[in-house]
């Protein structure tokens, strides 16, 4: 076992544990904090995979922005901070279907890879990634900007405050 494998197993265990905690905890705020742990350990895994740019973008966007937004939403909706019951629907059907399908998926993947090993090429830095984006992925990249604009406009439309009342006064 190499260092990378040990690191991978450790970070993977953290990620799975934290993800399980997100799904099972009865406190919404804690779910958000466990999500930080899960996403952070995934960022660590990207580092182990020597995909550095992805790792740091993961930290910036997910841990830095998405989770913060989620926690804001928790606070703004005044969701109960303490233990809240009644967060679950009956769990056994979902657990059985989802778990069964997931185990099947994992079994398929194990079967597909048979614990083979692969030699890795050198990891690529930000420059190569940037060049590749503008070489072959330029169209979806530009469309992403449209997507962000649409999301921005839409979010403002649906949640804007009572402007006319203030203007009218």
């Amino acid at each position: 076992m190499t260092t990378a494998d040990v690191l991978m197993l450790a970070l993977g265990a953290v990620a799975v544990g934290a993800a399980a905690a997100v799904v099972t905890t009865r406190q919404i705020v804690r779910a958000g904090l466990w999500l930080v742990v899960a996403l952070g350990s995934l960022a660590g895994l990207y580092l182990v995979l020597s995909a550095e740019l992805v790792a740091w973008v993961q930290v910036l966007i997910y841990v830095g922005a998405v989770v913060v937004l989620l926690l804001f939403a928790v606070m703004l909706t005044r969701a109960p901070i303490g233990v809240s019951e009644d967060l679950d629907r009956s769990r056994w059907p979902g657990l059985l279907i989802g778990g069964g399908a997931g185990l099947g998926l994992a079994a398929l993947l194990i079967d597909a890879y048979q614990w083979s090993t692969v030699d890795l090429a050198d990891g690529a830095g930000a420059e190569e990634v940037g060049a590749a984006i503008f070489r072959s992925w330029v169209l979806p990249f530009e469309v992403l900007s449209v997507l962000l604009l649409a999301a921005l406009v839409g979010a403002i439309v649906i949640s804007r405050p009572d402007v006319s009342a203030r203007v009218g006064r």
């Binding site: 503008f134 649906i158 402007v163 006319s164």
Partner: protein
């Protein structure tokens, strides 16, 4: 290797960044809509409040017309190419479906822009005001949000990109570009806003759930093929150096994402709630255009990337098609709300479309495309009628309220009867010709699965005729209820939309051959 050393200018120059060839003429329809949507955002920021609605409507209308002309021009040129480094495929199905989307988009836009039925239009300007508060009563008299026009254009441009996307990533981005505005549009109903927002939340959560499946499927297919372009996946499936399990699991998960959008069973649970809760004009838009876009994408995935795997996927998708037809038809019988009824009918129609898709032949493809166009016109017209039947609380959608409508408003009831007969597939309507085309294409293959699907299709069509005819009987033969709703006089926009929808339903039923020929000539994907 450290990715974060700051590159000196010389190093930057050393990296070869060449833009791929972009065929702007072929992308013109999408670019026009993207541009007009951005302009619309500016209009909303700077134009005076009174004239916003007019400007926005005119802008959207012109943009869609220009996009339609661009599609027609491109079709005249007869271009068949991959552009933007194989991210886009401009071929017959793309152009046919983009043209369909533009036309249906214009008709749906007429409904979205209608303001004669209700003061300020069917949309609310500030969706987040507490229901029943003072501010809410004040805004009931105010103009509705005009941002719905740019949002509609964003959605339509995403749909046009979706039917042209030739790799999974572009398809995913396009999927989100058309989904996110739709989630929001669902939440903006002026009347019954709580229901509308709940519909939006449900649509959003389930839509995001389905997107997650799409992404994981995309990852698995990338692992299988080393690329996400459909041509690449096709080639990799031929060589099959890696385990085909990845291919099939990946396909299954991508299919979940797409089948969710077309509302196939068992991924249909959102449909009735969202169709009921969303503003009716948005429902019309979704029922017609989302179906065209999502089916266009599904057809491309199945025909371009997975035609080699057709024997393996046929039983799975065939089963889904059978379930979709059965569940849609049987549950439609039990509905008491006209919007929910049409939602289940739309689910059943997704099943009929899958029958055409599963023929895996040129006829199957062309008949499915014809079906999409024909169904789109009929369904928009049907929802247009629903916007007209109103009482003090807005639209009266409960079926019992429609009793005796034939005496109140014979013309509107007559139009609706015609549309219901078209849904039921009576000859001389587009419903008949399109079902005939789809089932004929499936029978033409002459294999076990398509034939079985056609049998189920015919049986469920008969079941489905029952709820349609029940509405018709109710309108003409029942006694009116005590407080029967009034039928509003349609404004110019709704009248135009109704006229186009009804005429198209009639013409495609009586003289279907020009459009059938067009679809037939267009029915060839490039890879």
């Amino acid at each position: 290797m450290n990715g974060f050393t700051i590159a000196t200018p010389a190093q930057v120059l050393a990296i070869d960044v060449r833009l791929p060839d972009l065929d702007y003429a072929a992308m013109a329809p999408m670019l026009v809509l993207f541009g007009a949507a951005c302009l619309g955002v500016l209009v909303d920021a700077f134009a005076p409040r009174q004239s916003r609605h007019t400007i926005q409507f005119a802008l959207s209308f012109i943009a869609l017309t220009v996009a339609l002309l661009a599609v027609i021009r491109e079709a005249r040129v007869g271009s068949r190419e991959l552009t933007a480094d194989v991210a886009l495929a401009i071929d017959g199905p793309t152009l046919f479906l983009q043209g369909t989307l533009a036309v249906l988009g214009i008709v749906a836009l007429l409904l979205v822009g209608e303001r004669a039925l209700e003061k300020g239009g069917p949309f609310v300007s500030q969706a987040a005001i507490p229901v029943g508060s003072e501010a809410d009563r004040r805004q009931a008299r105010e103009e509705g949000a005009t941002e719905v026009f740019p949002l509609t254009l964003f959605a339509l441009s995403g749909m046009m990109l979706f039917v042209a996307a030739n790799d999974l990533l572009t398809m995913f981005v396009a999927l989100e570009v058309f989904s996110l505005p739709l989630y929001l549009l669902c939440a903006l109903a002026r009347r019954r806003r709580l229901v509308s927002q709940e519909a939006a939340l449900k649509y959003f959560l389930l839509g995001a759930f389905a997107s997650a499946f799409f992404i994981f499927g995309m990852a698995l297919l990338y692992g299988f093929a080393g690329t996400v372009s459909f041509g690449g996946i096709h080639d990799a499936a031929l060589l099959a150096t890696t385990s085909p399990l990845l291919l099939f699991t990946g396909l299954a998960m991508v299919a979940v994402g797409l089948l969710f959008k077309i509302a196939a069973v068992p991924f249909h649970v959102w449909t009735p709630d969202v169709y009921q809760g969303a503003p009716t004009s948005v429902t019309a838009f979704m029922a017609a255009c989302t179906k065209v876009a999502a089916f266009g994408g599904l057809l491309r995935v199945l025909y371009v990337a997975f035609d080699r795997a057709r024997w393996d996927i046929e039983p799975v998708i065939g089963t889904i098609a059978i379930l979709t037809m059965l569940v849609g038809a049987i549950l439609a019988v039990t509905q008491t709300d006209i919007k929910r009824l049409l939602a289940y009918s739309s689910i059943a129609n997704a099943g009929y479309l899958l029958v055409g898709a599963l023929a895996f032949s040129k006829e199957g493809l062309s008949s499915a495309m014809f079906y999409l166009a024909a169904y789109g016109f009929t369904v928009i017209a049907a929802f247009a009628v629903i916007t007209l039947v109103r009482d003090d609380d807005g639209e009266a959608t409960h079926l019992s309220r429609w009793a005796g409508l034939g005496r109140e408003a014979p013309l509107v009831a007559g139009v609706f009867t015609f549309l219901m007969l078209a849904f039921a597939g009576i000859p001389l309507t587009s419903g008949f010709t399109s079902k005939f085309a789809v089932f004929g294409a499936a029978l033409g293959v002459g294999e076990a699965w398509p034939v079985a699907l056609v049998i189920v299709g015919v049986v469920t069509s008969m079941i489905l005729a029952f709820p349609y005819l029940r509405v018709v009987v109710m309108m003409w033969l029942s006694e009116p209820a005590e407080q029967s709703p009034t039928v509003a006089i349609p404004g110019a926009f709704t009248s135009a939309a109704l006229m186009v929808g009804v005429l198209a339903t009639l013409l495609l039923g009586v003289f279907p051959s020009p459009v059938l020929d067009l679809a037939d000539r267009a029915a060839e994907f490039i890879r």
